[in-house]
Amino acid sequence: MTGFSYLYDLLITPFTDFAFMRRALVGSIALSIGACPIGVFLMLRRMSLVGDAMAHAILPGAALGYLFAGLSLGFMTAGGLIAGFVVALLAGLVTRVTILKEDAALASFYLISLAGGVVLVSLRGSNVDLLHVLFGSVLALDDNTLLLLAASTTVSLLALAVLFRPLVLECVDPLFLRTVSQSGSVSHFGFLALVVLNLVAGFHALGTLLSVGLMMVPAFAARFWSATLDGMIAVATLIGIFSSGIGIVISYHAGTPTGPTIILSAGGLYLLSILFGQRNGLILRVLPRKHLAA
């Protein structure tokens, strides 16, 4: 029985002993549930770098919030959300209406946005690292922040359920969608809005690295376990949840910074998936296996 109690001490006791540990776990699980499905879609649409771009795009929004109301988290978050939505909107518009593709459109606006943000911040003259103030830490989740995460995840899941079929069709066969429905635009912009929502909520609660990393890395790993969309979403979410738990526990015992440790755990699972995944895993390709009769 000592093996079991050792394991219990290793894995469970940290959470029973400390409230901040429980909150960190709940918060990152909430984020995983909301963000990992979005990450799967981003990956499939070849938009994997969007998260990082978005982090920079929201700067002028936060800067405006700061200029307007000082170091107020509410205003800065709202500003960040608005800036993110505007950039996503403009990028989507340019993609649909002009000859530029999605990647160029998004890059153009996030760069403009970032530059604008830097100018705005320097206007105020102070040296405050705005992004640092805006972005939180997974170990510091107070009640309001947990509520924010829960709300954003709920909204995200509901919206995704509503947008699911048009979104899928827009990914697979956008021309066909245009011939049969008007909802192409709605699903396109709706999806971008969901990306912004999950990212900004994640930034605010958990910091940039954790937010983007938890959205994307589990999705990459899921590729190697499932060939269906539903399967990928489920696996990605599970991997996100596991990485969160593993990462927090390791950070507790080994004293490593928690956010990066969670992402490293996800990264570890990702590498294992590349090797041992049931779909296109490397080991599978290397091992000689008899092919089936038909």
Partner: protein, 249 residues
């Protein structure tokens, strides 16, 4: 001569193009309801452009396209390029998107619809392929799946653009059989094709396009050496010194 029977499509002096340079000029005529027309012509003749416009994807620079039925009863199969074959979607689900006009974005398709999908897959020779993923299909199989979707759409007007490019002969003949079946059901079908043999064998009507209408009518009257020679002499490139077109208003 206008024809207002459901399923007919009337073109009135339609000019289509990009950037004011016309891809195809001043086309007038009528696709009668229930007709089976092949659109042929050399490369760059504007055939795909014309089809896009009829499908409602492209606005004419001038002229009008009148469809006797609403666009919801129109199915359009473009050239293959735009499909994301890596996306994890099953054959069944892709064919199922054909029900979109019926069920919209929210409802899932029901048991009857599933039977229709099975039937369509069987008709295209892909019985049992329901759960296969898109990425595992060959070119010919993918084309069959798209035809199955067309079937499920149950449209009055069917537009297909180069459906048989790089497809094996067995598939071509199977799918042509399907097209003839639709023709018998009274649907209006317009197909862009390169294979003159197919056209001559299966298509009662033809439209020979060479950036303008060279000939339109019964295939035997259209596919004459004169007409074909005229079409071949069409200029492909845009004329940078072109004046404003002075023809029909």
């Amino acid at each position: 001569m206008t024809n207002t029977r459901a399923g007919s499509i009337q073109l009135n002096d339609v000019t289509l193009g990009y950037d004011r340079h016309p891809a195809v000029h001043h086309v007038s005529g009528c696709f009668k309801a229930g007709s089976l027309t092949a659109v042929i012509g050399p490369n760059g003749a504007g055939k795909s452009t014309l089809l896009k416009a009829i499908a409602g994807m492209l606005r004419p620079l001038s002229g009008t396209i009148a469809r006797a039925s609403e666009t919801s009863r129109l199915a359009y199969l473009p050239q293959l390029a735009e499909l994301d074959r890596d996306f994890p979607i099953s054959v069944e689900d892709l064919v199922g998107t054909g029900f979109w006009r019926k069920i919209g974005s929210f409802r899932r398709y029901g048991r009857e619809d599933r039977l229709l999908i099975d039937e369509a897959l069987e008709k295209v020779g892909l019985a049992g392929f329901n759960k296969r993923m898109l990425g595992t299909l060959s070119g010919g199989q993918l084309q069959r799946v798209l035809f199955a979707r067309l079937m499920v759409q149950d449209a009055e007007m069917i537009l297909i653009d180069e459906p048989f490019a790089a497809i094996d002969t067995k598939t071509v003949s199977d799918l042509m059989g399907l097209v003839r079946h639709w023709h018998c059901e009274g649907r209006t079908i317009i197909a862009v094709l390169h294979d003159m043999g197919l056209v001559a064998e299966f298509f009662p009507d033809s439209l020979l396009l060479a950036r303008e209408c060279v000939a339109w009518g019964a295939t035997s009257h259209v596919l004459t050496p004169d007409h074909l020679a005229k079409a071949r002499s069409m200029i492909e490139a845009n004329d940078p010194h072109a004046n404003e077109c002075e023809r029909a208003a």
